[in-house]
C-alpha cells in the first residue's frame, strides 16, 4: 500500500514536470509547427503519462492521454497539421490532466469528471481533419500537398515558407515522408542521422538536396531568438536529468541546515577555546575543522537554491493565453534563467510574477493596431530578466508597451479621493507612478477578465514585502514599463538588528528598520509628548508614536519614556510597520548580524509579536520581533479598523501626503471641534489657579516661558454650559518659537479628517469646514488661523 502511495507521489511530481515541458513545447510548436523535435517531445511526455497512468490504474487519465497521443501521432505522421483550434484543444488537454493530478493528489482518486467532452473533441479533431484532408487529397499519396493546403488557412508568411518545400522535387519529398513513416523513432533527426551514416561517403552530396535540413535552416531564420534560447535551455536541462539528480525531501535539507548552523556555533566556541593552545596539532586540527565547516555550510545552502527558470517554465503558456485573450501579439524573452535563489522564495514569488506578467500584457502592451499607429512593431516584447546584484536577486518584468500615463493616474487618484488635488500638483511622476500600488487602484479604462479589478498591485507589493523584498517601477510614457523586484537570496538567513530590552536579547529584521537614533537626553525629554495615554516623539517636525519595548512586552512597568535613570541617552529604532513609522525604545543596541530564522513552537504562535526565533553566537535563543505585530499591539492601527478599509490604507500612506489628522475635542457639551494636529505639540492639564493675566488676557507659565491662552468656547461665542473648571484642558500649539494654549473642555481622540468636508470660505472664522467625525458633527479648526484671528499677545522670546 505504502509502496503504491510512493509510486503515485513520484508519478505526480514527474507528470507535473512533464506537463510544464509539454506546455512549453506546445507553445513553441504553435510558432513553428514543423518542428519535429518539439512534436516528438510532446509525444513522448504524453506517452509516458499514458503508460504510468495505466500502470497505476488511473483509467480516465490514461484514456485522455491516449486520445491526445493518437492525435499527436497523426500530427507527427503529417496526416493532419496544427491549427489554432487544435492547439487550443491540446492546451485544454494539459489543463484537464492537471486537474486530474490535483484530484489524485488530494483525494487519491481521479474524481467524478470523466472529461468525456474533451475526449470527444480530441476524437472529433481527428475525424474532421481527416475528412478535410481526404476530401482535398485527391489520391496524391504525398503528404506535402495536404500540408500546403492546411497552411493556406493559417498565417501568410508560413504559406510562403511552405511553398518552397512543395516546389521541391517530389521524389525527394516522398523519400523523406516514406523514411519517416518507416522509422519507429519520434524524431526526424534520428532518421536522417541513421540514413546519413548508412550512406557514408555520399552523405555530403545527399545532404544538400534533402529537404528536411533545408527546411530547418529556413525555419531557423524565422524563429525568434528567444524561442531558440528556450529550446536550447530545455535541451540542456533535459539531457542527463535522470542520471545526475536525485530527489531529496525539503525537510531533510532543513534539518541538515539546522545541524550545520549548530556545527558553526560549536566550531566558533572551539576556536575561541583553542586559541590559547600553543600545540600546533590542536591548531591545525581546529583550522581544518573550521574550513570544512564553512564549506559544508556553503554546500548545504546551495542545495536550497534553485534556478528561477523552473518557475518561469509556466510563463510562455501564460503569455500565450493572456495575449490571445486580449487580442495582442506578444513575444516573450527570458534572460537569466539560471539565476539561483532560495526555494521558498521561488514559491512565494510565483503568484506575484504571474500577476505582473498578466498585467504587463493586459495593460502595458497595446493592441497591434495601436502599436502600428505609434510606429512600433505589431508584436510587443515582454522580457523577464533575473540577475544577482549586491547579494540580492533582481527580477525585472520589462515591456515595451504604452507605459504609465501619469496624467491619468493623477486624475484617477484625485477622483477617487486617494490624494487631494493640491497635493497632486506637487507630486513627482515617480510618486504618482508608485500610487498604482495603492489598494483599489486601477488605471485600466475597462475591467477585463485578465486583470484590472483594482486588486492586485497592492497584493503584489504586500506579497513581495512579506518575502523581505521590494518592488520598484519605472515607466516612460509610450516606451514601456519596467517593474523591478528585489529579494534577498534566501529567507532562511536574514540581516537583523540585535537589541537588548529588560535584559533580554531581541532581533528586529533589517527590512523593517528605518533609522537608529540616540538623541541627547535633554532634547529628547523636550521632544516627547504625551497625547491621550500614549507618547509621541517629535522628529524633524514629524510626530512619531513612541513605544518602549519593555512596557509593550510587559517586562517593565510602564513609565514616561524620558524618565530614565541617570542622563543616559535613549536608544531609539525607527521602524516601518506597513506604511507607518514608529520609534521603538530599547535599552541597548548591539548591532546588525545575519541570523538564521527558526520557527516558533505551537504554544507561541498566537502571541502575535514574534515571527520566529534564532540562535545567537553564544548559543542562547533570541526572539525575532514582528514589527507589524508590535505596531498592532501598540495600538497604531486601531483607528483603521473603525474606518473603512480603503480610506485607512490611504491616509496612512506617508509618501502620499495624507489627509489631515485631527485632534477631536469637546469645547462645550454641545460643540465638538477637530483641530489639525500638524502644529500641536501636546495636551496639558492646568489648574485654574495657575492662570495669570497680562495686558492681552490670560496666560500661563509654560516651559520657562509665557503661554497665552485662547478659550475656544468664548471664541466660538458658544454660551452652552462648560465643565466646572477644576482642571483646564489646554492643547498646546506652536507659532514660530512661541506656544499658544487652546483651552477646550475635553480631548477625546485623534481622527483622520474625512474627505467630504463642507468647506467654509469665511476668512474671519477659524473654522475651515464642518464634517462628521466619530458620528458627531465636528467643526474643523485651523489653529494657525485661530491664532491669527484671536491675535493673542505673543512674547518675542521664550
Amino acid at each position: 500500500m505504502t509502496q503504491h502511495d510512493d509510486f503515485v507521489k513520484d508519478f505526480l511530481t514527474e507528470t507535473k514536470e512533464g506537463l510544464e515541458q509539454l506546455e512549453n513545447d506546445l507553445v513553441a510548436l504553435e510558432e513553428d509547427p514543423q518542428n519535429v523535435d518539439r512534436l516528438g517531445s510532446i509525444f513522448r511526455v504524453l506517452h509516458t503519462i499514458k503508460g504510468s497512468a495505466g500502470f497505476l490504474e488511473f483509467s480516465i487519465l490514461r484514456g485522455l492521454a491516449h486520445s491526445g497521443e493518437h492525435l499527436l501521432g497523426r500530427l507527427r505522421n503529417g496526416e493532419i497539421t496544427l491549427n489554432s483550434e487544435l492547439s487550443n484543444t491540446l492546451f485544454q488537454l494539459i489543463d484537464s490532466i492537471r486537474e486530474l493530478l490535483t484530484s489524485i493528489e488530494e483525494s487519491g482518486t481521479e474524481g467524478a469528471n470523466s472529461f468525456a467532452q474533451l475526449r470527444q473533441k480530441l476524437t472529433d479533431a481527428n475525424t474532421t481533419i481527416d475528412a478535410k484532408t481526404q476530401g482535398k487529397q485527391t489520391g496524391n499519396t504525398s503528404t506535402a500537398s495536404s500540408k500546403s493546403r492546411a497552411y493556406d488557412k493559417s498565417t501568410g508568411d508560413e504559406t510562403i515558407l511552405m511553398a518552397s518545400l512543395v516546389d521541391g522535387p517530389p521524389d525527394e519529398t516522398g523519400q523523406w515522408t516514406g523514411a519517416e513513416s518507416e522509422a519507429d523513432g519520434f524524431s526526424l533527426d534520428d532518421t536522417t542521422e541513421r540514413e546519413d551514416t548508412k550512406n557514408g561517403v555520399d552523405r555530403s552530396v545527399e545532404h544538400k538536396n534533402e529537404p528536411p535540413p533545408a527546411e530547418r535552416t529556413t525555419k531557423q531564420s524565422t524563429t525568434s531568438p528567444p524561442a531558440n534560447a528556450v529550446k536550447n535551455d530545455s535541451k540542456t536541462s533535459g539531457s542527463g536529468l535522470s542520471s545526475s539528480n536525485i530527489r531529496v525531501d525539503v525537510h531533510l535539507l532543513d534539518q541538515l541546515m539546522n545541524l550545520v548552523g549548530e556545527l558553526v556555533l560549536t566550531r566558533n566556541r572551539l576556536l575561541q577555546m583553542t586559541s590559547e593552545y600553543q600545540d600546533p596539532d590542536v591548531l591545525n586540527t581546529t583550522q581544518r575543522l573550521n574550513q570544512i565547516t564553512s564549506e559544508l555550510q556553503d554546500g548545504i545552502m546551495q542545495t536550497r537554491m534553485q534556478p528561477i527558470g523552473g518557475m518561469w517554465q509556466r510563463m510562455p503558456r501564460v503569455t500565450r493565453d493572456v495575449s490571445q485573450q486580449c487580442g495582442k501579439k506578444v513575444r516573450l524573452e527570458i534572460e537569466g534563467n539560471e539565476t539561483e535563489l532560495d526555494k521558498s522564495l521561488i514559491e512565494g514569488l510565483t503568484d506575484p510574477m504571474l500577476h505582473l506578467v498578466r498585467n504587463a500584457i493586459d495593460h502595458g502592451i497595446e493592441s497591434p493596431n495601436a502599436r502600428r499607429l505609434s510606429g512600433k512593431p505589431e508584436e510587443g516584447r515582454l522580457t523577464l530578466r533575473a540577475f544577482h546584484e549586491g547579494g540580492q536577486v533582481i527580477i525585472e518584468i520589462d515591456d515595451d508597451g504604452s507605459g504609465l500615463d501619469t496624467d491619468k493616474i493623477k486624475q484617477l487618484a484625485v477622483q477617487r479621493g486617494f490624494i487631494s488635488s493640491e497635493a497632486s500638483q506637487t507630486m513627482t511622476a515617480d510618486e504618482l507612478q508608485r500610487s498604482i500600488f495603492l489598494p483599489g487602484f486601477s488605471t485600466a479604462d475597462q475591467i477585463s477578465n485578465v486583470s484590472g479589478r483594482g486588486v492586485g498591485m497592492d497584493v503584489v507589493k504586500t506579497n513581495i514585502e512579506q518575502l523581505g523584498g521590494m518592488v520598484n517601477l519605472t515607466s516612460i510614457r509610450g516606451e514601456g514599463t519596467i517593474v523591478r523586484i528585489t529579494v534577498p537570496l534566501t529567507l532562511a538567513i536574514i540581516p537583523a538588528l540585535v537589541v537588548i530590552s529588560a535584559g533580554d536579547h531581541y532581533t528586529i529584521p533589517q527590512v523593517n528598520l528605518v533609522e537608529l537614533l540616540r538623541p541627547d537626553p535633554v532634547s529628547f525629554a523636550n521632544n516627547v509628548e504625551h497625547i491621550h495615554e500614549s507618547y509621541v516623539y517629535r522628529l524633524r517636525g514629524n510626530l512619531l508614536p513612541l513605544v518602549n519595548l519593555g512596557s509593550l512586552l510587559d517586562t517593565e512597568a510602564p513609565k514616561h519614556p524620558a524618565n530614565r535613570p541617570g542622563h543616559v541617552p535613549p536608544h531609539l529604532a525607527v521602524l516601518r510597520a506597513g506604511d507607518r513609522h514608529f520609534a521603538l525604545m530599547v535599552d541597548q543596541i548591539i548591532g546588525t548580524q545575519e541570523i538564521v530564522v527558526k520557527p516558533l513552537g505551537v504554544a507561541l504562535e498566537t502571541i502575535g509579536v514574534y515571527t520566529g526565533s534564532t540562535i545567537m553566537g553564544d548559543g542562547s535563543v533570541a526572539l525575532i520581533l514582528d514589527v507589524l505585530g508590535l505596531g498592532r499591539r501598540a495600538g497604531l492601527f486601531t483607528r483603521d479598523e473603525q474606518t473603512t478599509e480603503g480610506e485607512s490604507e490611504l491616509v496612512s500612506d506617508v509618501t502620499l501626503i495624507p489627509a489631515e489628522r485631527l485632534l477631536i475635542c469637546d469645547v462645550t457639551s454641545k460643540r465638538r471641534v477637530g483641530i489639525s494636529i500638524r502644529s500641536l505639540i501636546c495636551v496639558e492639564q492646568i489648574a485654574p489657579g495657575d492662570i495669570e493675566h497680562s495686558v492681552d488676557g490670560e496666560v500661563v507659565q509654560y516651559r520657562d516661558g509665557i503661554m497665552p491662552l485662547i478659550r475656544l468656547a468664548h471664541f466660538l461665542a458658544d454660551d452652552s454650559e462648560t465643565k466646572p473648571p477644576d482642571r483646564l484642558c489646554v492643547v498646546v500649539h506652536t507659532v514660530g518659537d512661541c506656544h499658544v494654549g487652546i483651552v477646550v473642555d475635553r480631548v477625546l481622540d485623534i481622527a483622520d479628517s474625512p474627505s467630504g468636508t463642507e468647506r467654509s470660505v469665511d476668512e474671519n472664522s477659524p473654522i475651515t469646514g464642518t464634517s462628521i467625525v466619530l458620528d458627531r458633527v465636528t467643526d474643523i479648526i485651523d489653529p494657525d488661523r485661530l491664532v491669527r484671528i484671536a491675535d493673542p499677545f505673543l512674547p518675542t522670546t521664550v
Binding site: 545541524l259 549548530e262 510587559d554 513552537g601 507561541l604 498566537t606 502571541i607 526565533s613 535563543v621
Partner: protein
C-alpha cells in the same frame, strides 16, 4: 497474560512527588539550560532553549499542575518529550530513574486529585515504597497551546 506485561517510565520529582512519563515519549533528559523567556506567552511557557539547533518550548510543569513555584536554589532539569507537533521540554525538579512497572499495578488517578490535575494525570502505578503519577503529556502540551488563547479571550 496482560497483567504480567511491564511498562517503563522515565521518573522525576516534582514538589516531592514522583511522576513518570512513558519512556517511549521521552526523547532525552537534560541538565538546566540557558532559557530565553518569552514575554506575553502563557504562564505555562517557561521560555525557549536551544536543543542542538532546534528551538524547543519549555513548559513549567509545576505551573501546569498548579504546584507552588520552585523556591530553593535547586536548578531544574529538562525532560524533552515528543508531542504530536514538536518536541517540548518539561521543566522538573530532579530527574529520577527509569522504572519498570507491571500493568497489574495500575490504579486510576485518585479522586483526591483536584481540578486541572485530573486531566493531566492518566493514573498511578503502585510501587513498594511509593506511587508513580503518570502524566498525559499530549494533554499538557494542548493545555499550554490553549492557555494563550484563553488568556486572550
Amino acid at each position: 497474560m496482560a497483567s504480567d506485561e511491564t511498562r517503563q517510565f522515565c521518573c522525576f520529582l516534582l514538589d516531592d512527588m514522583l511522576f513518570g512519563i512513558d519512556v517511549g515519549d521521552v526523547q532525552e533528559v537534560l541538565r538546566d539550560q540557558h532559557r530565553t523567556r518569552v514575554p506575553l506567552a502563557s504562564p505555562m511557557v517557561h521560555g525557549l532553549i536551544n536543543l542542538r539547533g532546534q528551538i524547543v518550548t519549555v513548559l513549567d510543569l509545576r505551573h501546569c499542575l498548579k504546584l507552588p513555584s520552585l523556591t530553593d536554589e535547586r536548578r531544574p532539569a529538562h525532560v524533552i518529550v515528543r508531542t504530536r507537533d514538536e518536541p517540548m521540554s518539561f521543566l522538573v525538579d530532579e530527574i529520577g530513574d527509569v522504572l519498570s512497572v507491571r500493568e497489574s499495578d495500575f490504579v486510576p488517578a485518585p479522586e483526591t486529585l483536584s481540578g486541572v490535575a485530573v486531566d493531566l494525570i492518566c493514573g498511578t502505578y503502585k510501587l513498594e515504597q511509593r506511587l508513580i503519577l503518570v502524566l498525559n503529556t499530549q494533554q499538557i502540551a494542548d493545555h499550554a497551546v490553549a492557555g494563550r488563547s484563553q488568556k486572550q479571550a
